[in-house]
Every structure is written in C-alpha cells, then in structure tokens.
C-alpha cells in the first residue's frame, strides 16, 4: 500500500452550483399570498403566518409582543387551557415571535394531524379574545423575566446600544422599561390586533410534505375576509445625533463586561450590502475571522466575539458583540480598534479571501439543508419582496469580489469616529 501523506490536504473541489427547491405561489380568494415548498422525506409540516405587525407599529411599549404572545391564550371558541390541551394532544409545536418589523405564528405538525391542528390555528389567527385574566398572568411572568434579563450585562449593553443608535423615540430605538408592564391594557391589544392582524397584512408559508390536500385545508380556512383593515405605514426616518460616542453602563460586581460597538449602516437592499457581508465575514463573521483569531484564539480575552450586519425593513446597522473578562476589557477594546484600522490599511490577502469566499458558499448550502431551512431562507427574501435571483446575485458577488473593492468598502464604512461604543459591566 502506498504511504499516506498526511501533510497534504486531499484534492478539493470548488462549489460551483448550489441547488435548492424554490417555493411556489398561490393567491387565496381574499388576496392572501400562500407560498408552499414541498421538500424533505419526513411526514412533517411547518406553517408560518407572517404579519407586518412588529414593534415598530406599536404606539405604546410592549403592545406588539403582548398581542402576538396572547393570540393562543383564549379565542372565541376555546380557552387558553383548551388550546394548549389540543395542540399538545396532536403533538404540535407552536411558536410565536415578534421582531421590529413583523410578527409571526409558526406551527410544526405531523402531516397526519395537520387537519385537526388547523382548526385551532384558525381560531388563533382569526378570533383571539385576549382575556384579562390571561393578560394579567402573562404580564406577571414577563415582568419577572424582564427583571432577570435586566441583570445581565449582555442585555444592558444591547438595550443601550439600540436606544442610542436610533434614538429612544425612534420605532427601532425604543426598548421596554419596567414601569411599562403596569400600563398594558386589553383594549390596546384588541386595537393593535384589529389594525394589523388583517387579511391585507398577512403572508402564509407552508413547507415540508405539502400536497394538494394540505393546500386545500388552508384554502378552506383562510380565504374569507375576517379582517379587512388596511395598515398605515409609519415614519422611520432617522434623525439622530449621537452626542456621546463612548458609554459605560456600570455593573460593579461584573466578572465580565459586555461590549457592543457599531454604527448605522443599511439593509440588504443597498448596492454595497453584498460586499459588506463579505467584508464583515473576514472581520468578525465566522470562527476564523480576524476578531476571533486575535481576541479569542491569540489573546484568550473572551469565549466568543463576532460582528454582523443586521438588516431591518427600513434601516440596518453593523455591530461588534462580545463578553470579555472585566480585567482585560480595555485590552480587548484596543485590539478591536487595531483590527478595524488594519482592515482599512492593508489589502486582504488572496488566501484569506478565498477561505472566506468558500466558507460563505458553504454557509449558503447549509441554509438550504432540509425543508424548514429552505423555508426560513425563503421567508428572509419574502420580507423584502425579493426573488431567488437575489441569491444568485449574492453567490456571484461572493465569487467575484476583489480584495481592492473590499478595501474601498472598509475605508468608506469603517471610520472609528462614526462608531458608538457601549460597555456594560466595568473596565
């Protein structure tokens, strides 16, 4: 047998083509777009109801999340306990989530129980009643969770960063306060629901083992005009002057400090978005990134550090996130700024850039691994009314972008003077 040379990596093959199954579209009689993605070999189904009803649409704190959370806590025909009992009996998993732009209800169900599950789903989506008793219990629990969260340096830094970056009055910049829990009224939830959980403000996405039978169940239940209100768009113009760019939120006994450094940027519709995503990956977007290599793998200041571009419907921002030993916090900050400067001054070497490009292409393949991952990727496009062409263009940019272009982007967007630095804990 030929001697094995373990010093040499086996022959590698480029990633030239990424195959994935695309969602198909059907429009219900009432105008709701229904997207479906038939994939996977297991008899399971995921259904997402996505409303443009995120926190930016609320006139008072906590209303968007509370409305979304209480959808399943009592409806026209069922009590909260009955809904829980039925969903559990059919082995279904219900998830509700609210972000700044949208609010969604997601159900995971075995195909064989989907018909029964859809009965409950219809009640949750169309006829929630927001009982006062359930609201009181929910607020009691959430308030305690909020207090526990508020004692974490990570949460402290994240809230402060959000408040200051957008301004506390901006729909993207406000965060809840303890006293807000006393002021949530049932009437406000009903108002928010009637205004935003309407036929005109909803998209439905089905994925998994989807056949005509499943589609017709949805058509039968969700084709009428149960709520016809039209959403009024809100103003998300940012006019925010940040006076103080270095902020310490003190916590005296903290053994680690949470760091958030960042700035307003743009969302995924901007022409520089793809390039900045590549630049961000080099800088702090994967395990082999410069931030991880320097601050974790060389200095050992942290368990983890990373950076990312957060895309919102009407804005976007860039942030660097870490929790570092309080005793080495200043050193970690210094190193972050050294890396920020370095990526502006030095052109990224070919070898490093190739690693990043291939890593990113691998990540794209991973986002299409299995029916539910495919549907999540599709939903990320849907939110911005983008087609699959967007992914094709993204792949092309990753493959073709040059180090010189990335250098220009770094010099355009990575100026230290524009960055906000928040540290929660102690130096």
């Amino acid at each position: 047998m030929q001697e094995l040379d373990r010093n040499i990596q086996p022959h590698t093959y480029p990633i030239d083509k990424i195959d994935f199954i695309q969602a198909k579209k059907k429009v219900l009689a009432n105008g709701i777009p229904l997207y479906y993605l038939n994939a996977g070999d297991q008899d399971v189904i995921k259904i997402d109801f996505i409303f443009e009803a995120g926190t930016k649409y609320q006139n008072y704190p906590l209303i968007a999340t509370t409305t979304n959370s209480l959808l399943s806590e009592g409806t026209k025909s069922y009590t909260s306990a009955q809904i829980a009992e039925k969903l559990d009996f059919y082995g279904a998993f219900l998830q509700k989530s609210t972000d700044r732009d949208s609010a969604s209800v997601t159900i995971y169900s075995l195909s064989k129980h989907f018909c029964n599950v859809s009965e409950i789903l219809e009640e949750i989506i169309k006829y929630p009643t927001f009982p006062q008793k359930e609201l009181d219990n929910y607020l009691l629990k959430q308030k305690q969770r909020f207090i526990v969260d508020s004692s974490k340096v990570k949460t402290m830094a994240q809230r402060k960063f959000t408040n200051v970056t957008f301004g506390e009055k901006h729909p993207y910049g406000s965060t809840a306060k303890l006293e807000d829990f006393e002021n949530v009224k049932q009437k406000q939830l009903l108002g928010f629901f009637n205004r935003l959980y309407s036929v005109n403000n909803l998209k439905i996405v089905l994925s998994g083992k989807i056949d005509n039978n499943i589609i017709s169940i949805i058509e039968n239940k969700f084709s009428d005009n149960w709520n016809n209100s039209i959403k009024v768009e809100i103003d998300t113009e940012i006019s925010n002057n940040i006076a103080d760019k270095v902020i310490l939120v003190e916590k005296k006994d903290a053994v680690q400090s949470a760091i958030r450094i960042g700035k307003l940027l743009f969302n995924k519709l901007h022409p520089d978005y793809f390039g900045m995503t590549v630049l961000n990956t080099v800088f702090g977007g994967y395990f082999g990134s410069r931030l991880m290599t320097n601050i974790r793998e060389d200095k050992g200041y942290t368990y983890g550090i990373g950076s990312g571009i957060v895309s919102l419907k009407d804005a976007g921002f860039f942030t660097i996130v870490s929790e570092v030993g309080s005793d080495v916090c200043r050193n970690a900050l210094d190193e972050i700024y050294i890396e920020l400067e370095k990526i502006k001054v030095e052109i990224i070497e070919e070898d490093e850039l190739n690693t990043v490009k291939n890593y990113m292409l691998g990540e794209i393949i991973r986002t299409f691994d299995g029916p539910f991952a495919m549907s999540d990727s599709f939903i990320a496009l849907l939110e911005y009314d983008l087609s699959y062409d967007y992914i094709t263009k993204y792949i092309e940019t990753i493959k073709n972008i040059k180090a010189e272009e990335l250098n220009k982007l770094a010099n355009k967007y990575f100026n230290k003077a524009d960055f906000l630095e928040v540290v929660a804990g102690k130096y």
């Binding site: 094995l4 373990r6 010093n7 009992e85 526990v148 974490k152 050992g300 691998g362 299995g370 539910f372």
Partner: protein, 413 residues
C-alpha cells in the same frame, strides 16, 4: 426509521453510514467515549478543556479550522458528563478533507504550549460567561455535589473550580489524550448523499492505519442509595427566589427510563402540562417551573426547577410541588393524558430526524452506549409504557429521603 449500514475497522473504530439523498450537505460526527465523569476529582473540567485543544492543531496539520473553512465546511463540538462529540458539515464533493482532518487528530495532536495557554484563558472566560456572570448561573455547580457524594457526576462539565483549569499542564493533556482518544473508543457516523462503499474506502485509507490503544475499562464509583433528604440554602444577588429539587433516578439503559421520562412530560412538557397549568396559571406561584430528567448514561437525576413569583413564600412554593408529586404517586394517570404525551414524544422524535447532522448525532450516541438501532426502537419503548408503570416509577423516585433541595434566595430576603 433511520436506515444505516455499519462496519468496524481492525483497530476497533465503529463506522456507521446513513444515506440521505435529499441534502446537499454531508454530516460527519465522531463521538469519543470520554466525558467529565472520567476526570479525577482534583483535575475537573479537563475533558472539556481538552475538547478545545482538539482544535489547536494535530500532528501533521497545523490548523484544524482553516482547511475546513477553505472547502466550505463548518464544525463544532460539545462535551458533557458522559461523552465528547465532534461534528462537521461540508459540501459532499469535499468529504475527504473531513476524513483527513478527523483522522489526523485521532492519530495525535500537536500538543502546542501556546494552544494550551490560550485555550486555558478561553475556557476560564467561558466559565465566567456561563456560570459566574449570569443570574442563577451556578445552580448546577451547587446542585450536583449536593445530590452526588461519590459518583463523578458531582461536578459539572466546566469543572468544580477555575483553579483546576489554571493548573492543567501539557503532560496532563498528553496523558489524557492517550488514555481516552483512540479508534477503539470512538464511533464515526457519516450522513448524507453518500455510498457505503465509498465511505468504507475513505475510512480504511484515513483511519485504518491508526493503532488501537489500551483503553482501561471504566470503573466509576457507584452512588450509594441516598438515605436522608439533603437541603442547601444559598443567597445570591438575583432578583427572585428559586427552588431546585433533585431525585436520583435510573440509568439511560434501564427499562424504567422511558416511564421516568414520561413522568417528567406529564408534569411539565407543553403548556397543557400539570405544573404549568396549575402552578403557573391557576395558583400563580411560579413565573416558570420545569420538571426534567438529565438523560445521563449512568444513574441520573430527575429535577424540578422553579422561579417564584415575587412575594410567594418558599414554603408555599415547595408545598405546591410536593402536592403534584403526591398526586402522581397516588393516582394512576388516565390513558388520555398518557396518550397525549406519547403523541408529543412521537412528534418530537420525528422532528429530530429532519437534518442529516441530527440523525448522525443520534446514531453515534446510540451506538456508543449500546446499539445504533436503538434510535429506531425509541418510539416503541415510549408507546409501551403503561399508566401503572408511570405510577410505579413515580413512587420509586419521589421519596423524601431520595431528594436534594437547593433554596436559591435573593440577598435582601
């Protein structure tokens, strides 16, 4: 049903292949039969620190991560009290790089002093981030030594204390490697659009030449039967009081395991469960409460954990838990309630079989502790449980003298 092929190399490495044509990704999972339970009491946290060092370069390859990222791969690992598990996913055309990397670090490590120094700091920061700098973060550092007095489950994977990690030497690291890392102490699983014949060739080529090592038979102290209730009260800077109650239960391979798991489901799986409906919604004693089993290979723990609503007395909270315990001991559960939980278990198992990586992990762990095919018997094992068995295990486990209770109080109380 997860179908698979299985073979063993001459050096004792077990290899399992699961073919899944629907995914563009191949998952490779290697589980080593070593965890925090294999550590010495004065050198805890070692299995986990060692997991970090497995990424610090192997005997012929200076960096593990870089060549993998270069071909679009991604990887991670975890350590628990029983096992150390390494996994990676990569585009299928580059699968051989995975074999190259994993086989070289099974062969031997670089044992670089720099890597030890840095990972020592990283793990200490992890200790702080996850256990010291979080509200309620040290609960398991307290509860484990209360419940276990002899078995090594008395320490958490991260270790008893930071000094154990600070004092680790390169010699300790080398000894640990040769004691536990070997083809005959591991299971390799490949899942994805692959052929068994192709994996057989790759496994022979890359792992076949690694020598079998002497692995001492595991001989851990057995935890004697607990004969009196244990209680511990601590005060911490947290916003709300909390209670944790642990009962000793059977091992994962014991026939009662499935009934015990269903007891925890009846109490706290889902919003319709007893604890949530009665203690959170009706009586409003807890902001959150859970009952769960640790799922460990050796005899484990059945744990209740609850955070009290502000103003609720600890005594009332504890009595409420006790009432639920009394109820499940005295009244046989109805078929309807049990069927609900069985449906839920079936559904959870189905959803755990969606991705190639999950399937690979499930197969590897099942093979390591017995037989990979047990993943396909799980559902029947749960479905076979009767209401009478539920009642029996509840009575076996929930005895006052079998309990360890941690009262975790806020400082200003």
């Amino acid at each position: 049903m997860i179908k698979f092929d299985r073979f063993e190399l001459d050096n004792g490495l077990k290899v399992i292949i699961h073919k899944d044509k629907t995914t563009p990704i191949v998952a490779i999972n290697i589980v080593y039969n070593v965890g925090a339970r294999d550590e010495m009491p004065e050198k805890t946290g070692f299995a986990h620190l060692f997991e970090h060092l497995m990424f610090g370069g192997s005997v012929n390859i200076p960096s593990y991560d870089t060549p993998l990222q270069k071909i679009g791969g991604s990887n991670n690992a975890f350590t628990n009290n029983d096992i150390t598990n390494y996994y990676l996913t990569l585009p299928k055309q580059n699968i051989e790089t995975g074999f190259w990397l994993e086989s070289d670090r099974m062969l031997s490590l670089a044992f670089s002093p720099k890597s030890l120094e840095v990972q020592r700091s990283v793990v200490i920061e992890e200790f702080k981030q996850r256990y010291l700098n979080q509200p309620y973060g040290d609960v398991y550092l307290l509860l484990r030594p209360l419940a276990y007095k002899h078995h090594p489950y008395q320490w958490a994977t991260i270790g008893k204390e930071i000094s154990h990690i600070e004092n680790a030497t390169l010699k300790d690291v080398k000894d640990f490697f040769y004691k536990h890392y070997a083809p005959n102490n591991a299971v390799l699983v490949v899942a994805g659009d692959v052929e068994t014949s192709e994996i057989r060739i790759l496994a022979d080529k890359w792992f076949g030449g690694i020598q079998k090592r002497n692995i001492a038979k595991r001989n851990l102290p057995i935890e004697p039967k607990q004969t009196e209730a244990r209680k511990l009260t601590v005060k911490r800077d947290v916003p709300f009081d909390a209670i944790y109650k642990a009962f000793h239960m059977c091992a994962k391979t014991h026939p009662d395991y499935y009934a015990t798991d269903l007891v925890s489901d009846i109490l706290s799986n889902g919003n319709s469960s007893r604890l949530y409906q009665r203690l959170v919604k009706e009586k409003q004693l807890f902001s959150e409460i859970n009952a769960y089993i640790m799922g460990s290979v050796d005899a484990g723990l059945f744990i209740f954990s609850g955070k009290l609503i502000d103003g609720v007395k600890m005594e009332d909270a504890e009595n409420a838990i006790q009432n639920e315990i009394n109820l499940i001991k005295s009244e046989v559960v109805s078929n309807e309630e049990l069927n609900k939980l069985k449906n839920k278990v079936e559904s959870a198992l189905r959803f755990s079989e969606i991705t190639a990586l999950n399937k690979a992990m499930n197969l590897a762990f099942a093979e390591l502790i017995g037989d990979a095919n047990n993943v396909n018997k799980e559902i029947d094992n749960y479905l076979a449980v009767t209401p009478e068995e539920i009642n029996k295990v509840a009575n076996d486990i929930f005895r006052e003298e079998n309990s360890s209770t941690l009262y975790y109080l806020r400082i200003n109380n």
